[in-house]
Amino acid sequence: MADFGGVDLDALRTEARSWIEANFPAELKGRPNPMMREERSKPSPAQEAWRKAMGEKGWGTPTWPAQYGGGGLSSAEARVIQQELGRAGAYNPIGGMGIMMFGPTLLEYGTEAQKMEHIPKICRGDVQWCQGFSEPGAGSDLAALSTKCEDKGDHYLINGQKIWTSGAQYADWCFCLVRTDTAKKHEGISFVLFSMHQPGVEVRPIPLIAGNSPFCETFFTDARAEKKDLVGPLNGGWTIAKRLLQHERSGLSGAGGGGMAGGKSLTALAKEYVGVDDQGRIADSDLRTRIAMHEIEGRSFQQTAVRAMLEAKGNSGPSAATSIMKNAGTQWMQMKAELTLEIMGHQGLGWEGDTFSAEELAAVRGWLGGKAFTIYGGSQEVQSNIISKRILGLPDLTQHN
């Protein structure tokens, strides 16, 4: 792995440009990222070649340490890679829960042996991870989880049920919160890793209102985890889980710009569907005002992301402030979906069929699917609790009779 520590950005840019030219298959240019495993389970040879090339190079995880297969780059250097990928019409084929949540957490809390075993496979995109956190009885109150984990001498035995497991049907491994002490709540939780490819694991996709099944119910019946795959101390999993959730929140807020971009702007849609008046204004003045408010909100959100980046100077991990961004970002995205439907009118309600454009069909599904934004990754209400308690210092309610 090359060390770019002392190389200036222009040199890296030149290298990245020629490397991408040499390795990115022309037929994938401008194509959407097939990172979702539904497509990934049957990738084309070109997609597979691109994943392998980026995985070997370490540029799919540009800022991760080089000794574990990452790119070993600074944030500034990683942005150069991102810019050059964008310039070439290429996507980063390395993604998923391993990248966004589990990898950064294991890098922080894992042993050297655990990092050596798991991180390189994430960097290469060889192994997909799923998150075994929520349970039917433990949603917002995550620490109420009850999936049982017993010490069987040389291994652990796991029994219980997880729910809302994103991508479990495509996952190779699970990072899972389990109960190892029933006498304590937060201090009785451990963080273990195990393979999804074993007889004791059953996955049932859950059909959602949007008509798809991105989440699953996952059942563990005498599933097995190895002793070496316990992360952190026994009963010390909650601290790790909280850190992981911070990574999740910052990823889900759209702070990176991913969630805020994409698709036509509301103003372009409104001009198309609603029309304009003789001064070129959106003909529906009430709608126009609400679109302007939404744009103003979105830009102030982006300005805040930029400000946070400048203030942090790129060297600290996610903080409690990510809760602000998660709430603001997800509500903004939901409002965008609602305004889109309103702008499209009946055309925005098409479920299937050739009366509707792909954009219209995507609008209604996106609106419904987006209802998850303020529920998963710690609901809007949980984020508000975090803001009020951790940032604002407001106290817990005390029981009284």
């Binding site: 302007a292 408010m293 400000r307 803001i387 407001l394 106290p395």
Partner: protein, 378 residues
Amino acid sequence: MAVLNEEQSMLRDAAKSWTQEKSPVTAFRKMRDSGVEIGYDAAAWNEMAEMGWAGVIIPEEYGGSSFGYLSLGLILEELGRTLTASPLLASAMGAASALVLGGTDAQKSAWLPKIAEGTAVGALAIDEGAHHAPEKTALAATKSGAGYVLNGTKTFVLEGLAANVLIVAARTSGKAGEKDGITLFVVPADTKGISRKRLALADNRGAANITFDKVEVGADAVMGEAGKGWDVLEKTLDRVRAGLSAEMLGAAVQSFETTLDYLKVRVQFGQVIGSFQALQHRAAKMFTDLELARSAVEAALAAIDADSPDVPELVSLAKAKMGDVFHLVSNEMVQMHGGIGMTDAHDSGFYLKRARACEAAFGSQSYHRDRYARIQGY
């Protein structure tokens, strides 16, 4: 908080300690109770001027420090926290900007040094009705010999009573609603034919209606080219809007922090009311909105310093967002304080009133949302 340079950090720290020590909200209350007509404490203004605050955006050759708009915004934010009333916005941000941007050498030499040292107060005489509408300027400037005669009335001129010099938007051609034909004049406030009426407003700041009755001014009173004043006017207004937004940010943040402190001490049902989730989530919402508003305000000020082409949209964005958030937190301030928040003895009412006055000044949220949309082409 924006990443600040050393000068900016020092200015902010100086403004913070001065306002906390010398100009807390009790000083604003005292000023109000004393019924002082000009709407600010002249002694406090002198102290501010002595610290160089009135010259922050004025070039060094005219006695200022050229520290820039973000720097002046930092001071205005601190003043906003304690609701300090002073001509800093109208004079050092508003009139000074107009002169720097469009003044002739003679106009700059005549007024900028005095404005920078605080011995002269400038004010912007722009609007002519209840709403901010600069393009609707109708006050007539009729050619007369080498000069002009001004006739008409300007309304709600901030610091209009205290002003020594007025930047007057007048119409030399065209009709109300047209941007062409507007001319800016630099007019000493004691010019014959000018009469001023003090306006007693809910926010207790100094505002006046100013009537121009056959006011004769020379050709040297014209800023730039006759009929082509819009460009400087709009740039000036954007600067004062950004400055006002910074002041609003400070007031809104203080309004929130005072409320948050109260949530931590007021006990009902055997516990502090801040432990109730119904209030916690509203506090979280306010905090989130204040963070977004801060980003918008700082981005607008920084864009002015960078002379960026997107100043107009960033300023409208900031004023619109800040206006909404200031209403949110000042309303919640009253509500969360309960009955005490309704009393004159409490500060809540001051913030509530200030928020409304700030909305009306230099364009409401409605005005700036419309302007933002127009700039964006919809």
